[in-house]
């Protein structure tokens, strides 16, 4: 099957104070159409940079990214981004925001409105159609951000830690809603997170990245039917494997930031909350 997204030997280097920082190093992977893939890694590993590259907001220093065989060089409406902060336009209502992309594409006003209302309903915000972003909670804003991009029927949805700023309950709700939307619309999703539980709960495959310079350390195929139970022993075993591997990378980041070696979490011993990377026990 032809890949939908192909990342080939992508490197991204930045010049910083007369030194070169290598953020991404020889990243290579492919994503199939309709697949839900998670990019998992410690902070600073370049996952957001990778999302920007796939979106076309940035160019790789070397290597190439192809979508349906075509080179990615600039932003395109076939791949849309949901950011950690909703990035809604504050001067527009929920309706105005969801219509935005359609307006840019020149869709006529009546059709635009109808489509927007449909997607607002899909994210359960019909009551707030004419509200302004400042009147919405964080979770609601992210729903609008999701409706806004889905209304444009993109082939690919890029999500950069979209639920990172939300409380655990809202996060859980939105994860379920996202899976439902994914099933209905059959789009390809690239979801960035640092949360192991979130990654294994959502994705078909998890791409684990190293600390800077970011490389793909390991690819895990989750292979479990959805909805996935948190208590499923296969899932838990997978999470432990990922956690211990990821723990090494997190330790590297800590060492660099704090200048001292932080002990690695043991695979078998109970893991304290602050090192569970989201697996609140």
């Amino acid at each position: 099957m032809a890949a939908h997204v192909e990342v080939q030997h992508v490197c991204r280097r930045f010049a910083h104070n007369s030194a070169t920082v290598e953020v991404l190093q020889d990243i290579t992977f492919a994503i199939a159409k309709g697949e839900f893939v998670c990019l998992l890694g410690p902070s600073g590993c370049g996952k957001s940079t990778l999302v920007n590259l796939i979106a076309g907001l940035d160019q790789p220093s070397s290597g190439a990214i192809r979508i349906d065989g075509r080179l990615v060089e600039r932003p395109g409406t076939d791949r849309l981004v949901v950011f950690q902060e909703a990035a809604l336009f504050p001067w527009l209502t929920v309706l105005g925001n969801v219509e935005f992309g359609l307006k840019m594409a020149g869709v006529p006003s009546a059709e635009r409105r109808e489509r927007a209302l449909q997607f607002i309903k899909l994210v359960h915000l019909s009551k707030f159609t004419h509200a302004y972003p400042f009147q919405l909670s964080g979770g609601m804003k992210q729903r609008v951000a999701i409706a806004r991009v889905l209304a444009m029927h993109p082939a690919i949805l890029l999500m950069d830690e979209p639920f990172g700023a939300l409380d655990a309950q809202t996060r859980g709700l939105l994860q379920d809603e996202l899976l439902e939307l994914w099933r209905q619309m059959q789009i390809t999703i690239v979801f960035v997170t640092h949360n192991v539980r979130e990654a294994t709960g959502l994705a078909d495959r998890v791409l684990e990245m190293t600390a800077r310079p970011g490389r793909i350390k390991h690819v895990y195929a989750v292979g479990l039917p959805r909805p996935r139970l948190a208590t499923d022993p296969h899932l838990v075993a997978l999470q432990r494997r990922i956690l211990s591997s990821l723990g090494e990378e997190v330790a590297k980041v800590s060492t660099e930031e704090y200048g001292e070696t932080v002990p690695l979490p043991s695979d078998l011993a109970p893991v304290p909350v602050d090192r569970t990377l989201g697996m609140h026990i």
Partner: protein, 212 residues
């Protein structure tokens, strides 16, 4: 106190006030129009900003009153001179603030808009300009204050019928009560417009734009 009241009630105050307000309305409308358009142009076209950006700042640095002699040279001691004074005294800040607003659109919004296909003119009118509105409103509010001051200075010097001219007149004949009353009136008008119109507007804009 009673004397102040009598002064306020008098016809001469009312005609002077009417004259000043009319001039302010004309002058300020021009300031708004030219200032915002100028600021948008400087914000949109880097070349223009590089050539003229500091000129706008320089204009703003010159107090309104200092423009009066020049205005009088061009137009004589007329209404036009006073209106031109307002223009020269207040447009600078509107241009500067509008330009700044255009240049400081939150990068996250720019990224979101670009991914959704906003480009060129559409991007400018549907994203950049709305994002700049809080700063434009701030500029318009400041311009009111500077414009009002320039108007008073203009009327004082050119003696065109208005509050400024009345002020100079009553001072010459020693009517101190009328003098104080006039200054109170100037202050009250300045504060009223600022508080009732601009601050309310700014508050609502900042709330909606998520800045308050």
């Amino acid at each position: 106190m009673a004397v102040l009241g009598a002064n306020f009630a008098s016809g001469e105050f009312r005609t002077a006030l009417a004259g000043s307000l009319r001039r302010m309305a004309i002058g300020y409308s021009l300031v708004m129009g030219l200032g915002v358009l100028g600021g948008l142009a400087l914000g949109r076209f880097r070349v223009l900003d590089e050539c003229l950006g500091s000129v706008a700042v320089a204009f703003h640095a010159i107090p309104g009153a200092a423009w009066v002699p020049l205005a009088m040279l061009w137009f004589g001691a007329t209404e036009q001179a006073v209106i031109v004074t307002i223009l020269l005294g207040a447009t600078g800040i509107v241009i500067v603030e509008t330009n700044a607003g255009i240049r400081h659109v939150p990068p996250l919004l720019v990224r979101a808009a670009r991914t959704m296909g906003a480009r060129g003119i559409k991007f400018f009118w549907h994203v950049v300009v709305p994002a700049a509105i809080p700063q434009i409103v701030n500029g318009l509010r400041l311009a009111w204050a500077f414009g009002w001051r320039a108007l008073m200075a203009g009327e004082l010097i050119t003696a065109v019928p208005g509050l400024g001219q009345l002020l100079s007149g009553v001072a010459k004949v020693g009517r101190l009560d009328a003098l104080v009353a006039l200054m109170l009136l100037m202050a009250v008008i300045g504060m009223a417009v600022d508080g009732l119109i601009f601050q309310q507007l700014e508050q609502r804009v900042r709330l909606r734009w998520g800045l308050a």
